[in-house]
Amino acid sequence: MKADKTIDCVGLYCPMPIVKTAQAIKELEPGQVLEVVADDIGIKSDMPAWCEKTGNECLGFEDEADETRAYVRKQ
């Protein structure tokens, strides 16, 4: 998936990927997509929960060997 900005959260655990997502999304325009690369599997449950609470759209995940890429569209 194509993203407008990518943040690297590999090696970070809850709640840091979410905290960094919240910080990074502030720098995007509505409609732009943020890519979050993480290896804490908690992100699969946490990212949709964060999106629902903050009104952003969780576009889904792409799994790789040791990492997960989460995609969020800013609303």
Binding site: Y13, C14, P15, M16, I18, V19, W50, K53, T54, G55
Partner: protein
Amino acid sequence: MSEESMTLIVFSDDLDRALAAFNLANTGASMGMDVTMFFTFWGLGVIKKERVGRGKKSPMQFMMGKMKRGSAKRLKMSQMNMLGMGTGIMKSLMKKYRMPSLEEGIALAKEQGVKFVACTTSMALMGLSREDFIDEVDEVAGAATYMGLATEGKVNLFI
């Protein structure tokens, strides 16, 4: 964005509990919530400066202050402290796994707009004044202030 609010009462000065409190406060803040942390009783130790002045303490309060010096970097775990060895091991493990230390958690909370309130009754009991706390503390207040916020809060925790 929601304008929901969250309150946490930080009653304990155990390192592990304080870490959990700041993790939740930081998560709530990143989810767009207004977060207020009330530090009361032993929890005041979390926000104490590293060096606290003599102040106007009674001999009993002075002794208590000596035994419970407080400040984020001195806190110990509630379990497996083992004269500080266990706490040291936990701190090095946290560093290895790149988890924020308590001091970093406090800084992050402030950056995210989390409000810190110190309980005036506990302050009187322990002979502490506003100057004994870190600059991050926004306000000193009582239980009615807490109840006012808690009745509006969606998430209210006692740690």
